[in-house]
C-alpha cells in the first residue's frame, strides 16, 4: 500500500486521461471511480498503472450499494477486491448510500433514512467489505433532497455512528454538507463540529447549482465560495486531510481543475502552518 497522500488532488475523468500522462502535473493524489476500471484488461488498466507511478492513488467506489437491503453484490466486491490487490491504492472509499433493491439498480447514490436499523445494517456491511479487502475504507456522506420522517437522528450523528460501529474512516464531502444544510435547514458548521476529528480521513470539494427550490449537487461548476469557507472551517475544526476536487459533468479543461486543486492545497498549507504554530513539536 502506498503512503496516504497529504495534499490536494483531483478526480481523474476520461477527458483528461491522455493529458495527465503527457503533462504529469504535481498532485498529492489522483482519485478515480473504481467501477471505471473494472475492465478485464486493456488501455484503461494500463493508464491506471501509469497514473499510479505519478502520484498516490485513491479508488473511489460508486456502485457497492453499502446501504442496500439486498445481499452484498459478490461480483462487484470481487471486481473491487481485484482492483485493490493489483493497484494497492493509498485510499479506498465508498458512499453512505444505497443504489439497488431486489436486483434493480438506480446506479446512483440514494440517501438512507437515519435510523438505528440502517446504522446497524450498513455498519455490518462496511465491516464485511473491510474484512474482504483487508483494509479500512473511507465512507462518504451524500447529498440528498429529501428529509425522511423515519429518521431517528440527525445526519451527522448517523455518519458518526456508522463510522464508530464499523471502524471505517469518513470521507467528508464538504459540498454535500453545504447542499444538505441549505436544503434541510441545519447549520453546516454544527454538522462539522459534531464529527470526531479522528474519524475524518479525506475531504471532497465540488460545485453545486442554486435553484429556486434549493441547492443541487451537480459537480458541474467551480467550488462555491460558501463551500470554500466551510472547508476552511473543517480544516480548523477537524484538521488538515487530503482534499480532492471533483468535477463530473460539463468537465472543464485540466487547467481549471488544477487551479481548483491549487486553491485547496493553499487552504491545506495554511491549516498545516496554523496547526504547527499552535502546537510546536
Amino acid at each position: 500500500m502506498t503512503q496516504a497522500p497529504r495534499g490536494a488532488g483531483i478526480g481523474l475523468r476520461a477527458p483528461h486521461h491522455g493529458e495527465i500522462l503527457a503533462r504529469r502535473p504535481l498532485l498529492a493524489f489522483v482519485e478515480v471511480h473504481s467501477e471505471n476500471f473494472f475492465a478485464a484488461g486493456g488501455p484503461l488498466l494500463a493508464l491506471l498503472e501509469r497514473v499510479r507511478s505519478l502520484s498516490a492513488l485513491s479508488l473511489h467506489g460508486v456502485g457497492l450499494s453499502l446501504g442496500s437491503a439486498d445481499p452484498l453484490d459478490e461480483r462487484h466486491l470481487a471486481s473491487l477486491e481485484a482492483l485493490v490487490r493489483r493497484f494497492e491504492p493509498a485510499l479506498v472509499s465508498e458512499h453512505l448510500s444505497w443504489s439497488s433493491i431486489d436486483g434493480r439498480h438506480a446506479n446512483d447514490l440514494l440517501p438512507l433514512p437515519h435510523t438505528r436499523e440502517a446504522v446497524a445494517h450498513v455498519a455490518a456491511r462496511i465491516g464485511a467489505v473491510q474484512d474482504r479487502l483487508r483494509r479500512r475504507i473511507l465512507v462518504e456522506n451524500v447529498s440528498r433532497y429529501l428529509d425522511f420522517a423515519e429518521s431517528e437522528m440527525p445526519e451527522w450523528e448517523f455518519l458518526g455512528e456508522v463510522a464508530r460501529r464499523s471502524g471505517c474512516a469518513l470521507l467528508l464531502d464538504v459540498n454535500n454538507v453545504q447542499v444538505n444544510a441549505v436544503n434541510h435547514g441545519f447549520d453546516a458548521r454544527r454538522y462539522i463540529e459534531a464529527l470526531d476529528p479522528a474519524l475524518v480521513a479525506e475531504y471532497h470539494l465540488a460545485g453545486h447549482e442554486a435553484t429556486p427550490w434549493g441547492l443541487v449537487d451537480t459537480h458541474a461548476s467551480p467550488v462555491a465560495a460558501q463551500v470554500w469557507a466551510l472547508f476552511e472551517h473543517a480544516l480548523a475544526t477537524l484538521g488538515p486531510r487530503p482534499a480532492l476536487v471533483e468535477w463530473d459533468a460539463d468537465i472543464p479543461t485540466l487547467d481549471v481543475l488544477l487551479d481548483e486543486a491549487r486553491r485547496a492545497q493553499s487552504a491545506l498549507d495554511h491549516a498545516l502552518r496554523d496547526a504547527a504554530t499552535e502546537s510546536p513539536a
Binding site: 471505471n36 478485464a40 486493456g42 471486481s79 439498480h105 438506480a106 446512483d108 436499523e117
Partner: protein, 247 residues
C-alpha cells in the same frame, strides 16, 4: 432489516414512477434527474455514433425509453446498454435510419473489445516453427478482444465517417463484414472479405487449421496463408495449441 427493505422498495418505485409533468418535481425529481443523467451518459459514452447520428434530443428520448424497457441489472454501468441494439431494432428510429441497430451492435462490440482481457500477440516465428506435418492440427487462439460482425450496411464506413466529422451521412450501398479487435491499446475496426469472415468464424469455433482449410474450400489454397499472416500481423491472434492425434 425488513423495515429498511420495504422502505427502499417504496423509494425505488417512487423513483421509477415518472409521469409527464411530475417527473422533475422537486425534491424527488432531483434524484430522478440524477438517475436519468447517469444512465443517459453511460449509454452515450458506449454509443457515441448512434448518439451523433440521432442528435442530442432524439437520443436522450431514446435513452429514456430504453431505461424504462430494460432496467439496469448491474452496479457496473459498463454493462449498461447490452440490449440497446436489439431494443433499437424495434423502435421507429430504426425505420427512419435502418442501419442504426447494426451501428449499435458495432459500438457494443467496440465497447467490449476495449475492456477485454489482455493477451500477448502471437509471434509469427513461433507458428512457423511448428513442424509442417503438425501444421494442420494447429488451433489458433484469437485475442480476447476479437469480435466479428456481419451487417447488410457498411457499418465500419458509417462509424468512421460519423466519428470523424459528424457530417451528413451518405451511406454507400452494400453490406460489410467487420473485424473489431484491440492492438497497441486501441480498438481497431476494419472491413473483412467474405473469405476472411468465414476464416474468423471457423477460428472462433476453435477449428484446427486442416478443418479450417476444408471448410473454406478451394479458395483456401491461395488465400489462407496470406489471410492468417495478416491476422498475425494485426495482433488479432494471441496463441496456438497443437492438438494430439485423435483416436
Amino acid at each position: 432489516m425488513s423495515a429498511l427493505a420495504a422502505w427502499q422498495r417504496a423509494f425505488m418505485e417512487a423513483l421509477e414512477d415518472e409521469h409527464e409533468g411530475t417527473a422533475s418535481d422537486a425534491p424527488l425529481g432531483f434524484h430522478r434527474a440524477s438517475v436519468r443523467a447517469r444512465r443517459r451518459d453511460a449509454l452515450a459514452a458506449t454509443y457515441p455514433i448512434v448518439a451523433r447520428l440521432l442528435g442530442r434530443g432524439p437520443f436522450d428520448a431514446l435513452a429514456a425509453r430504453y431505461a424504462r424497457a430494460h432496467p439496469s441489472h448491474s452496479a457496473n454501468l459498463d454493462l449498461y446498454g447490452d440490449l440497446f441494439a436489439a431494443f433499437l431494432a424495434r423502435q421507429s428510429e430504426a425505420d427512419a435510419t435502418p442501419c442504426l441497430p447494426d451501428v449499435a451492435r458495432l459500438e457494443w462490440a467496440c465497447h467490449e473489445s476495449f475492456r477485454a482481457a489482455d493477451a500477448p500477440a502471437l509471434e509469427a516465428a513461433a507458428l512457423a516453427a511448428v513442424p509442417s506435418e503438425l501444421q494442420g492440427r494447429v488451433r489458433l487462439v484469437l485475442h480476447p478482444s476479437v469480435r466479428v460482425l456481419e451487417s447488410a450496411y457498411p457499418i465500419a464506413a458509417i462509424r468512421e465517417r460519423a466519428g470523424c466529422d459528424g457530417g451528413p451521412l451518405h451511406a454507400a450501398a452494400g453490406g460489410e463484414r467487420v473485424l473489431v479487435h484491440r492492438a497497441g491499446g486501441e480498438v481497431r475496426v476494419r472491413a473483412l472479405s467474405d473469405f476472411e469472415c468465414r476464416l474468423l468464424r471457423a477460428l472462433l469455433r476453435g477449428a484446427a487449421l486442416e478443418e479450417v482449410a476444408a471448410a473454406l474450400g478451394d479458395e483456401a489454397a491461395a488465400s489462407l496463408a496470406p489471410a492468417l499472416a495478416r491476422l498475425v500481423l494485426e495482433q488479432a491472434i494471441a496463441a496456438f495449441t497443437v492438438a494430439a492425434d485423435r483416436a
